[in-house]
């Protein structure tokens, strides 16, 4: 096993990986941009190295700076997390070239799966079913022809894609040119490559993905599926394991195909094979993510296996500790992605300081968070703040528990997606398991309730009036406050004292 590991990431996933290292007794090294000097991952690690200014290109995507930190710290392995450089084959190679271990698959496997067009071709060759579509990058003119051939609606996808960027669904031939232009712009901006291809839209499909684990000796197993159909603009919002749409036989079948897909590229370490599952039980390969997935905790909750520790073991040359028969799914897990986006306002990313924070805990609740009170959320990075994960004996208990945990979660000072998740947990369609990837985006898609309870508006009105009252009272008592600190804090303290008269 390694002695010292550098985590080339930030936020909740950096903390998650640092924890696994800590629990394996490994020394840990964080890297940080100037925006993250007091972030959790910096405080958590044994050592921390500055790698640049806030802009990702100058810090978390800055390969030379990260390799230099790894050398200075004397680590023997690098874990990339997800996002940033995690699927960058050049970074993987640079880590190996520096004589360090890479906690992930070989650079060739990353490259093969990273180019979505190449991946499709490899999967077809390996007998893995794929979504009907183009098997190569397309010019705008070719795209018109292919779209006609496979039939509308079609989905434009970036060859270098990931995270929903550069994706556009087109229902009407007339919209294709503008959508192509937008997709290319977004792809070029995000990946520096505007190659696109087309896939047929499978109507009413669910997004179901299989977690695989493979060692360096050709052993490969799957850990069951995750259902990730609750998406908005191809970005996952809520995931659960297992899927209500996957009976045991289908799990075995999809799992076997997922293992075949991984083996087709000589995969080792943890990876995820994404499928679309249609209403008749047919499934189609979408892509393989050659890294740890955001939603990996739900698989951990139902299997009892710590995926990050397994990643470390595999990367250090250990054999898989499990065979397929050892893997048992117990109970049900759900994850809600809590991000700094305003669900009342088209999910626009929000920035600002976390003024207060109360985190849910208690039975069956697991929180993977990258924030703390006082932390400044910036627009430089992904808006994901934390992942709230619950386990329940069954799906009903998990939903009720998630609702309870969301109710406990208070993040002050910044808009978050918590209200969205609360309302999804309350929706009968979600509770009934009757949904597909159009749950949010579709024409009859889930909408945040605009008609809140009258009782709550009254509570809000009373709270604000009490606050205003105390502020006014205090102004009379104190005259003008003496500095900004006094102005911002004292009135509320006073409010407490005055309001407390009744019960004391």
């Amino acid at each position: 096993m390694f002695k010292k590991v550098l985590v080339a990431n930030r936020g909740e996933i950096a903390v998650r990986i640092l924890r696994a290292c800590e629990e394996r007794g490994l020394r840990t090294v964080a890297v940080y941009s100037d925006a993250d000097r007091t972030a959790l991952h910096v405080r958590y690690a044994d050592e921390a190295y500055r790698i640049g200014p806030p802009s990702p290109k100058e810090s978390y995507l800055n390969i030379p700076a990260i390799i230099a930190a790894a050398r200075q710290a004397g680590v023997d392995a690098v874990h990339p997390g997800y996002g940033f450089l995690s699927e960058n084959a050049d970074f993987a190679q640079a880590v190996l070239d520096a004589g360090l271990a890479w906690v992930g698959p070989a650079a060739e496997a990353i490259r093969a799966m990273g180019d979505k067009v190449t991946a499709r071709q490899l999967m077809i060759a390996a007998g893995v079913p794929v979504v009907p579509g183009a098997d190569a990058g397309l010019s705008d003119t070719e795209a018109v022809g292919v779209a006609q051939e496979i039939g509308y609606p079609v989905l434009i996808k970036a060859s270098a894609g990931g995270g929903g960027k550069g994706m556009r669904q087109v229902n009407d031939p007339a919209d294709l040119p503008r959508a192509l232009a937008a997709a290319r712009r977004e792809a070029a901006g995000a990946f520096g490559d505007d190659t696109i291809y087309l896939e047929k839209v499978i109507t009413g499909a669910r997004h179901v993905e299989l977690q695989v684990l493979a060692d360096q000796y050709g052993n490969c197993i799957h850990l069951g599926e995750r259902e990730c159909s609750i998406q908005r603009r191809h970005q996952k919002l809520i995931e659960e394991a297992p899927s209500v749409a996957v009976p045991p036989e289908l799990r075995a079948e999809m799992g076997a195909i997922a293992v075949r897909a991984a083996q087709a590229v000589g995969y080792s370490n943890a990876g995820t094979v994404e499928f679309l599952l249609d209403r008749s039980g047919h499934f189609y390969f979408l892509e393989m993510n050659t890294r740890l997935q955001v939603e990996h905790p739900i698989t951990e909750q139902v299997t009892g296996i710590d995926l990050v520790k397994e990643q470390l073991a595999i990367a250090s040359g250990r054999k898989l500790r499990w065979t397929q028969a050892d893997i048992q799914i117990k109970g049900h897990a759900i994850e809600c992605r809590i991000s700094s986006e305003d669900p009342y306002n088209s999910f626009l990313p929000a920035a600002g300081r976390i003024t207060s924070l109360s985190e849910p805990t208690g039975p069956g609740v697991r929180l993977e968070s990258g924030i703390c009170a006082g932390f400044e959320v910036s627009l430089f990075y992904d808006p994901l703040l934390a992942k709230l994960v619950v386990w329940g004996e069954n799906r009903a208990e998990a939903i009720l528990r998630m609702r309870r945990a969301l109710d406990e979660y208070r993040i002050g000072g910044i808009h978050t997606t918590i209200p969205f998740h609360q309302q999804v947990m309350d929706s009968t369609r979600f509770q009934g398991g009757q949904f597909d990837t159009s749950f949010v985006d579709g024409p009859d898609g889930f909408r945040l309730s605009a008609a809140p309870s009258q009782n709550l508006t009254q509570v809000a009105a009373i709270a604000a009036a009490l606050a205003e009252h105390e502020r006014a009272q205090l102004a009379v008592i104190l005259g003008s406050p003496c500095d900004e600190q006094g102005l911002r804090i004292s009135p509320w303290k006073q409010a407490g004292r005055v309001g407390g008269v009744r019960s004391r």
């Binding site: 207060s356 709550l456 709270a463």
Partner: protein
């Protein structure tokens, strides 16, 4: 002391005395609000019903509160009798201008401006595409109207709150 708290188009008349007793639209209630940790989180007991409330004020202190209750967020404007009278008088003097500014809700890059001067737009029509966080965000018209001004252009970097387009 009497206050008028407006939220979601409704105004509550709230009278507060010093002993934890209030009346809301004439109905008496026991109210006890206590700060919990720092300045934003409060415990509010209303006739024994327990609420956790996150309160934020706007920086300029214009009696505008953002209140989070049970996961839902409300904007509440609070006026006392004097400021309410002033505001009502003020409103009666001015003709409603009807002008509406579309501001950048997030700093970013203007990818394209889809409208031009004097163009009539429907409610919900996309006016501007703004790239931020590497995603394109569509800014739509909150109501129907005509474009009075276009204050930005394709390729411009805009700051949070910057006016991009005005409607009349």
């Amino acid at each position: 002391m009497k206050y008028f708290a407006s939220v979601e188009g409704r105004t509550y008349e709230i009278a507060i005395d010093h002993h934890g007793q209030i009346t809301v639209d004439g109905v008496a209630m026991a109210a006890d609000m206590q700060p919990v940790s720092g300045r934003h989180l409060y415990s509010l007991l209303l006739d024994n019903t327990s609420h956790e409330v996150v309160l934020d004020t706007d920086e300029e202190g214009r009696n505008l509160y953002e209140v989070m209750v049970a996961g839902l967020r409300y904007q509440v404007k609070v006026q006392d009798e004097r400021s309410r009278r002033l505001a009502l008088a003020d409103r009666s003097l001015k003709a409603p201008s009807g002008e509406l500014a579309i501001k950048a809700p997030i700093p970013g890059l203007v990818v394209s401006v889809l409208v031009e001067l004097n163009q009539e737009v429907a409610e919900g029509e996309t006016l501007i595409i703004l790239e931020a966080m590497k995603m394109e965000n569509e800014l739509r018209a909150p109501r129907a109207g005509a474009i009075r001004e276009v204050r930005t252009e394709s390729g411009a970097q805009v700051a949070l709150g910057q006016v991009l387009v005005t409607l009349r």
